[in-house]
């Protein structure tokens, strides 16, 4: 019973932290896959989905730096897709880049893209994320698939997983990308960011400083790690999902403390004469607290094991249903174990106060 209560609290923490880390996975899904040391962003950049635009000409200026190997424009935007057979609309995250640049340095480190570059050549052909919601289609090779009302063909798949960002993702050549948005007056001269690859052995911070001197104030140079940090901060602090699952973890922790506190307090109350007996035997208060702490750690282990097992069953199910990047990792397992022990230690410290009522005077 006690272990069941603990197990439940730990399971809640596992699931909340699992979702929380899938928020983090979402945050870094794209930024962590950009293959370059430095990034050119707009001064209005907030995060990837709110990046602003940069003048493409700045990339040529960047290329003039001797340490810069390549400077590739990257385009990304949400596109609305429609599958004519089902009539389903979806919101997909679209990534585009010039195919020619990819010959020098592959801009995206996403499994499945490298060997399908040629397939992207015909304008309008795209690759689709394997982790796109199936309802988005295309439902059959015959059905017509549209992006922003323009006919498109899905010619291959890659593996990314964008989590909470969108229903799925597509990758296209810059020309295809431009075509979907041409009706909106969008021009390829204004990419969303510039990806800069440096010659081997160069110091990104130093090159960044050099670039900042040459470039006007309509662009900013940051490192890829800084981009990750922007993404991380935005998703953890400013999105509802980040907050919900962060709070959920705290709530699970508190529930665990309260449940265990109740269990331990009741146990102490029921066994007061036994604790009094230990006092009579010469056990110090410290030792008695140690004994209660030991008990609580037994509960931690008894609760953790089944919770871990359940989580291992639950995560693949959640992943299959929601396609969220939610996975068991060694870090998550170890983190929750540590949290469980902290939870039990706090609960045992709170309940130890009840030991004061263990009075050996009434034992005889």
């Amino acid at each position: 019973m006690a272990a069941a209560g603990m197990g439940f609290a730990i399971l809640v923490i596992f699931v909340q932290l699992g979702f929380y880390s899938s928020v983090l996975n979402t945050a870094l899904a794209v930024s962590s896959r950009l293959n370059g040391e430095l990034i050119l962003i707009s001064p209005r950049f907030v995060h990837l989905s709110e990046a602003g635009e940069i003048p493409r000409a700045r990339l040529f200026q960047v290329l003039a730096h001797p340490k810069v190997l390549s400077a590739t424009p990257i385009y990304f935007r949400y596109v609305v897709s429609r599958d004519s057979a089902t009539g389903n609309y979806c919101r997909l995250f679209a990534l585009g880049f010039p195919l020619a640049d990819a010959r020098t340095a592959m801009p995206l480190r996403i499994p499945g893209i490298d060997d399908q570059l040629d397939a992207l050549r015909p304008t309008g052909d795209v690759l689709m994320d394997r982790f796109t919601q199936t309802r988005c289609g295309p439902s059959s090779p015959e059905s017509q698939f549209e992006l922003m009302g323009t006919a498109a063909r899905v010619v291959g798949r890659f593996e990314l997983g964008v989590g909470f960002l969108a229903d799925g993702a597509i990758v296209a050549s810059d020309d295809s990308f431009g075509r979907y948005f041409s009706k909106l007056g969008y021009s390829l001269d204004r990419p969303h960011l510039g990806l800069i690859k440096l010659a081997a052995g160069s110091d990104p911070a130093k090159v960044a400083a050099g670039l900042r001197e040459r470039l006007p104030s309509d662009v900013r140079v940051i490192t890829r790690e800084e981009l990750d940090a922007y993404q991380h901060r935005h998703w953890v602090q400013n999105t509802a999902v980040g907050n919900i699952f962060g709070m959920g973890t705290v709530a699970g922790f508190l529930v665990g403390v309260v449940v265990l506190f109740q269990i331990l307090s009741t146990d102490i109350r029921n066994h007061l004469p036994l604790y009094a007996t230990l006092r009579a035997m010469g056990y110090t208060s410290q030792r008695l607290h140690g004994y209660v702490l030991e008990q609580s750690w037994i509960f931690a282990v008894l609760g953790y094991a089944p919770a871990l097992l359940l989580t291992l069953i639950l995560f693949p199910i959640i992943h299959n249903v929601t396609l969220l990047p939610i996975f068991m990792t060694g870090k998550l397992a170890a983190g929750v174990l540590v949290l469980s022990f902290i939870m039990c230690t706090v609960a045992s410290m709170l309940s130890s106060r009840r030991l004061r009522r263990a009075d050996p005077a009434e034992l005889f």
Partner: protein, 235 residues
């Protein structure tokens, strides 16, 4: 206080002019009056008397489970009027308590219960595990070393509690009706153990009982009536 030196004090129990009262003001009720009692190391003393005469109260004062109020009470070299903190805990560690209720932890086996007491003392001679097992065996629990209390009879539980009180060869054993739950054969075994501890270790035993069959086995018979020592005879 190391095991085996229980004889180093002239008196194991040295009480004079001891009064004790429960409650305060109007609710004040005095239960012990001017107690005089001296017990030598190794002595086996039985305290008897009618119910409510103050036997249990006196026992808990000797065990430092209650704070004495007035008079002199010095046991195995410790002045209980002043005892507190670490010294109080150390004093209790040197004692063996046998309560009417066995007070065993339901989660612990017989062996573990006894081990909890043995673990308090790291100055015990010989192998600790062996000592625990042989003591329990002597008490007829050799087959039940790893049973929890729920799987033991009332008498067996009481014998586990007795083993727990004796395993560390205490200088002073305080027992309240320890044989009430035992048949005559097991009562004999327990009394034999008391005797042996007294002989080998100089352990003093102060035991409360109404059981007249046991009286003849004691060195001393103290009769308490209405909070006063009515008679005190050496045998």
């Amino acid at each position: 206080m190391a095991a085996g030196d229980a004889r180093k004090h002239e008196k194991a129990i040295d009480i004079s002019g001891l009064d004790y009262a429960f409650g305060e003001h109007e609710a004040r009720k005095q239960v012990l009056y001017d107690i005089e009692l001296a017990v030598a190391p190794g002595e086996f003393a039985i305290m008897t008397g009618p119910s409510g005469s103050g036997k249990t109260t006196l026992l808990s004062l000797v065990g430092a489970l209650r704070r004495p109020q007035q008079g002199r009470i010095v046991c195995v070299g410790s002045d209980l009027m002043r005892l507190q903190g670490v010294e109080l805990e150390a004093y209790r560690t040197g004692l063996g308590f046998i309560f009417q209720l066995h007070n065993l932890f339901p989660a612990l086996t017989a062996f573990q219960s006894v081990q909890m007491a043995a673990d308090l003392r790291d100055d015990l001679p010989g192998d600790k595990m062996e000592r625990i097992a042989s003591l329990l065996t002597e008490l007829g629990l050799g087959e039940r070393l790893h049973y929890r209390p729920s799987k033991l009879s009332g008498g067996q539980r009481q014998r586990v509690a007795i083993a727990r009180a004796l395993v560390h060869r205490p200088a002073l054993v305080l027992a309240d009706e320890p044989t009430a739950a035992l048949d005559s054969q097991n009562t004999e075994i327990v009394l034999g153990l008391f005797r042996r501890l007294a002989r080998e270790n100089g352990t003093t035993v102060l035991m409360v009982t109404q059981d007249a069959r046991v009286f003849e086995r004691a060195d001393r018979l103290v009769n308490l009536v209405d909070g006063r020592i009515d008679s005190d005879s050496r045998r």
